[in-house]
């Protein structure tokens, strides 16, 4: 553990802080997209300041519009601009930097902390995940160190951090569980889930990024995405949904 004080001269330009996997320092050289609430400190340099502008009220509208293609997440991101060092931390998660060279990588939205303007962000077809395209650096966090595996592989959705270069995963349901599900459907009684029956199935060439823990946050965006889809439902469907939700709430309260 290092308690030697750091300053702008000794802080790394683009690296984890010494002996500290949970904090990362970025020296601003151009616009940096950052998720809100992930910055723990900053040094403005040369008497200047660092501006943090919301995407909805930025002075660089066209730059932002061309690099951030996700209305759903735009309220949770800012653009940092100026000179200085920015230190990021994320709930005590390990933070890693990744380089993309004309590539693509999809990462869990809650785990993506920042990316530079060389990259373009889009929403993944899998809810709760974001895709980065282009050439540049980005920062992502993981609960424990990241594990890299190659397809074909089936992974627990909660352990998934992201994937690169391979096709988006398909959902796979355990054959034994499916058998039970189909049998149970006939008698209209649904068995309890083990939590392991649903997996993501990766095929093709590429890399899958996993974290060693299945601890997961409630992602507010999943709710927002569902909200968006509720609008297209009719009254009967809404009433049915209301029933399902109240049943779920009842179950949670027990």
């Amino acid at each position: 553990m290092s308690t030697q004080p750091l300053d702008p001269q000794t802080l790394p330009d683009h690296d984890n802080l010494p002996d500290n996997a949970y904090a990362y320092c970025v020296r601003l050289t151009g616009p940096l997209f950052m998720q809100t609430g992930r910055m723990i400190a900053y040094y403005p340099s040369g008497g200047g300041t660092i501006r943090f502008e919301p995407l909805t009220a930025t002075s660089m509208t066209s730059m932002v519009a061309s690099h951030f293609s996700s209305p759903l997440y735009s309220r949770d991101w800012v653009v940092a601009n100026g000179q200085g060092h920015v230190i990021l931390g994320d709930r005590g998660y390990d933070i890693n930097s990744y380089d993309l060279d004309d590539g693509n990588l999809t990462v869990r939205a809650a785990n993506l902390l920042a990316f530079d303007a060389g990259l373009e962000l889009k929403e993944s077809i899998i809810p709760g995940f974001l895709t980065l395209l282009g050439t540049g650096k980005f920062l992502a966090s993981s609960s424990g160190p990241v594990i890299f595996v190659e397809p074909p592989v089936r992974v627990d959705p909660e352990a998934l951090v992201g994937w690169a270069d391979c096709p988006a995963p398909a959902q796979h349901f355990d054959a034994g569980w499916m058998g039970h599900f189909l049998g149970a459907a006939r008698s209209a009684v649904l068995g309890a889930r083990s939590g392991e029956e649903r997996q993501y199935d990766f095929t093709g060439a590429g890399t899958v990024l996993l974290q060693s823990s299945e601890r997961m946050l409630e992602d507010p965006h999943v709710v927002r995405r569902l909200e968006g889809e509720v609008r297209s439902l009719g009254v009967d469907q809404l009433t049915h949904l209301q029933g399902v939700i109240s049943a779920q709430i009842q179950q949670h309260r027990q």
């Binding site: 553990m1 308690t3 300053d7 802080l17 609430g37 723990i40 040094y43 931390g89 507010p220």
Partner: protein
């Protein structure tokens, strides 16, 4: 002052030689093991700071619950598996949140000071406990390994109040409530202000926000 060491990043070990100079005050309930002839006694009102300190603490909510540890032996201290940060004070002023104090030399004085009156939702940074004198003090960081950042007149620093642990030196602390910072905090959580430090000193932060 000898006798203070970290057995692991999360456990503080203090050797007591029976002299008054080696005595420490530590957070109540922070002793995890000891050997030798050591006595633990509630430091009394105001964490040993006297009646005036107790009154201030009652009013401000900076409650400081300390015990006096004296005698001859070796004592292990730890709280919530937090990382321990040991600082040597040589006449400097340490400002910290009271809940972040793990232990301090008996020779050090503690007090409560008011740092500002700007809408702090969690109370972080609004009142602060100051530690002054010559001796050693141990702070606890419950959110990962602590980070020390130097502040000089040429390099002011801005810190998220939720990750702030404490600061040492001649520092002017101000609240920044600019729109720019508000943008940085999610809509549902976090502080609407940040702490700006100028002057000469060191600021300690933790990677995980409270």
């Amino acid at each position: 002052m000898a006798g203070w060491r970290l057995e692991s990043p999360r456990v503080l070990v203090v050797d007591l030689d029976g002299s008054k100079g080696s005595a420490v005050r530590a957070a109540t309930g922070s002793m995890v093991a000891y050997e030798g002839d050591v006595t633990f006694k509630n430091a009394g009102v105001g964490g040993g700071g006297g009646f005036r300190a107790a009154l201030k603490q009652r009013v401000t909510g900076e409650s400081l619950s300390l015990m006096e540890v004296t005698g001859r032996g070796t004592v292990h201290f730890a709280v919530g598996a937090g990382y321990v940060l040991v600082l040597d004070l040589a006449g400097d002023v340490l400002k910290a949140e009271s809940e972040g104090l793990l232990a301090l030399s008996d020779s050090l004085r503690t007090d409560v000071t008011f740092t500002g009156l700007q809408g702090a939702s969690s109370g972080q940074g609004l009142f602060t406990t100051t530690v002054t004198g010559h001796g050693q003090v141990a702070l606890i960081s419950l959110g990962g390994p602590p980070i020390a950042l130097r502040v000089s007149p040429a390099t002011p620093l801005v810190v998220d109040p939720d990750s702030y642990i404490g600061s040492v030196g001649r520092l002017q602390q101000s609240f920044v409530t600019d729109v720019s910072w508000r943008n940085l905090i999610g809509e549902s959580s976090g502080e609407a202000f940040s702490l700006r430090f100028e002057g000469d000193g060191v600021v300690y932060i933790q990677p995980e926000e409270r």
